[in-house]
């Protein structure tokens, strides 16, 4: 599925909307700023494995890397530094807003509901709550990381 998604970005995404979305939405873990950031290191690490990766999987990972290289060459402006205002503006024009990477630490109280709506007829209750947490600026280098988070 990942291979097809990158293939679609390379071959069919004429207005780059799909690529811009992947380049702006937050990454799945604290190890990467954007969703895009884990893909290339993951493929490289899988290809470096001596066992456990079939030939078919190797072909998929290799093709993903080839497609990423093509995208970098063809759409250079989109792969600039995300701290550069021009690149940021270009990505956010069609993609999501780039969020600053923060680590969310412990809850420090202040848990309260700020809006609760009830639909008794349909037995539904919807609430928006506020939870105070400590945060710190995160500086992920991209890709995968095995470092343990201290002071859990």
């Amino acid at each position: 599925m990942l291979g097809n998604l990158i293939h679609a970005c390379t071959e069919k995404d004429a207005n780059s909307l799909l690529l811009k979305t992947l380049l702006t939405i937050p990454g799945p873990s604290y190890g990467c700023v954007r969703y895009w950031d884990w893909i290339e290191p993951h493929c490289v690490s899988q290809l470096a494995k001596k066992y456990g990766v079939s030939e078919a999987q190797q072909q998929v990972y290799t093709q993903i890397l080839v497609n990423i290289k093509t995208l970098r060459q063809e759409k250079t402006a989109l792969f600039g530094d995300i701290n550069d205002p021009e690149t940021r503006q270009l990505l956010e024009a069609d993609g999501d807003r780039l969020t600053d990477p923060y680590l969310v630490w412990k809850n420090v109280g202040g848990a309260e509901w700020i809006d609760v709506k009830t639909d008794a007829a349909n037995h539904l209750e919807c609430g928006a709550g506020e939870l105070k947490t400590t945060v710190s600026k995160s500086l992920p280098q991209g890709g995968l990381s095995n470092e343990y988070i201290e002071d859990m």
Binding site: N4, A8, L17, I25, P26, S29, Y30, Y35, L103, N107
Partner: protein, 174 residues
């Protein structure tokens, strides 16, 4: 009879506009059912066609043509494609994944919607701790619920289905 509107000719239609006025090979009920919401048959034809890789190329064009500038049909097709992508058998997954490529890159004013439906919306993960009646106070977020940096703190949930996020909801692409 299908009436042609020249201003709404999708980039996938390369035939003769006049031919659209010819009688359709489908009977009137089947034709209506294709575009009727709430009718099981409205999705059945697509579900069946997606099971077989033989029709993938034609289906890509058809899906592109029907979804172009059509939010309602795009939503309907999105549900079927996403469900197809969540199947376990390799042969059943191939066609939906290939068709999703076309679906995601179809250029019109609703492309953003289609991308969000397929890829899902990023949602911050949280977990409830047991033994605490106060829901908000019992929530664990971020570093509190993971062991390593590489553990997931964001999930990508689709809002295509009514009970989104519930048990049985198909996973999004991401």
């Amino acid at each position: 009879m299908v009436k042609a509107d020249p201003s709404l000719v999708s980039p996938y239609f390369d035939g003769d506009l006049d031919k659209l006025d010819e009688s359709c090979f489908l009977d009137s009920y089947s034709l209506q059912a294709m575009f009727m919401d709430g009718d099981q048959k409205s999705k059945l034809w697509l579900q069946n066609l997606l099971k077989d890789i033989t029709y993938t190329n034609d289906l890509q064009i058809l899906i592109g043509h029907l979804c172009w500038k059509n939010l309602q049909f795009s939503r309907k097709a999105g549900k079927v494609i996403l469900k197809g992508c969540n199947k376990h058998k390799t042969e059943e997954v191939m066609s939906p994944i290939l068709i999703a490529n076309e679906y995601l890159t179809l250029k019109d004013e609703f492309q953003r919607n289609r991308v969000e439906w397929m890829l899902g919306l990023p949602s911050f993960e949280f977990k409830e701790t047991h033994g605490n009646n106060e829901l908000l106070a019992s929530l664990r977020v971020g570093c509190q619920q993971i062991r390593e940096c590489k553990d997931q703190v964001y999930t990508y949930k689709t809002n295509l289905f009514p009970a989104a996020g519930g048990w049985g909801t198909p996973d999004s692409f991401l």
